[in-house]
């Protein structure tokens, strides 16, 4: 059990509908020592890749992306959700194709991802993979390279992670949740 799995076991709260609340250390309140550990761990896992940008999406990916980007010494690019567009000039846009995000678009200014970029995409959760797919399509539209996908918590009982691996992406998830039980509060992780 790694540092993140232990923290989830100690402080995560399982809610009905396979919801895992990690509000006390990852989302609403953020433990900066944990963020630094997360950044260092992703840096270790992708150390052989020539990353030039870390791409994430507002809002809950930002703290994680910052922690990772500091380790690589590269900038963060934070994709905007369409409702908060305040971006001049040429943009890449991608639709998030999930039911729950209907009409949600992801937007990145073209000047911040170019064909030379080698991009590490990071986010807090991976479930259906629709947000990740939108971020990937923006990187590919820019003719940049997706060097890897770094996810803090993957819900392995949903299909997003499997789809990304099948597509050949290098996906690293720090906590791979196999199942959760809202009645007992138990979280079972995939054995690594």
């Amino acid at each position: 059990m790694n540092f993140l799995q232990a923290r989830i076991r100690d402080e995560g709260v399982v809610k009905p509908g396979n919801v895992l609340k990690v509000d006390s250390f990852l989302n609403h309140q953020m433990d900066m020592a944990l963020m630094d550990q997360i950044g260092a761990e992703f840096h270790r896992r992708f150390a052989h890749k020539p990353i030039t940008k870390v791409l994430t999406i507002e809002a809950s990916g930002i703290a994680i992306a910052c922690a990772v980007a500091r380790c690589f010494g590269v900038p963060v690019v934070c994709a905007k959700k369409s409702r908060s567009i305040n971006i001049d000039g040429e943009v890449y846009t991608a639709q998030i194709e999930s039911e729950s995000h209907k009409d949600s678009k992801v937007v990145v200014a073209k000047k911040f991802i170019t064909g030379d970029d080698r991009v590490l995409i990071v986010d807090d959760f991976l479930a259906g993979g629709y947000t990740l797919q939108a971020l990937i399509s923006i990187v590919e539209e820019a003719d940049a390279t997706v060097e890897g996908l770094g996810i803090v918590i993957e819900k392995c009982f949903q299909e997003g992670g499997r789809r990304m691996r099948n597509l050949g992406y290098h996906l690293e998830s720090l906590a791979m949740v196999q199942s959760m039980d809202a009645a007992t509060g138990e979280v079972v992780f995939v054995e690594e």
Copy 2:
């Protein structure tokens, strides 16, 4: 001229309507070395305060809050905007009282700010001060102490900063913009 003013002069873009775009290093793309400098500078300016939490609001305050909180060794609490409420349990809410944010609420789970907390509130911009006022009211509703307000860019030609200082808050702004000219692109800073 400090490091931030120099960066604004070099890369900031003035748009009509007193809009200052700092997309290339602060908002949309984020320079992590600059964030670390910002964190260190706020730490220097509030070093004598017994800060226990750094409070900000999604999304563009998060990277700044993380940089500051790392220096103090305390957690970040990230207030949610009402449209993204996904918070269990008891919450503090405050209305943002500006015309442009009509019906916008700020939400913080009660468990993350308590009466013992000594809070440094940080954000990227201060103009009218309505968002800052909502964050302050949440801290005060929690019977916690507002130890300071840390702003990256203050538009001194709007009334928010003056109002905060008149109310007795310790406000530190790293770049105090006196005026901007969209025609020439010039940004004039208040002499410190």
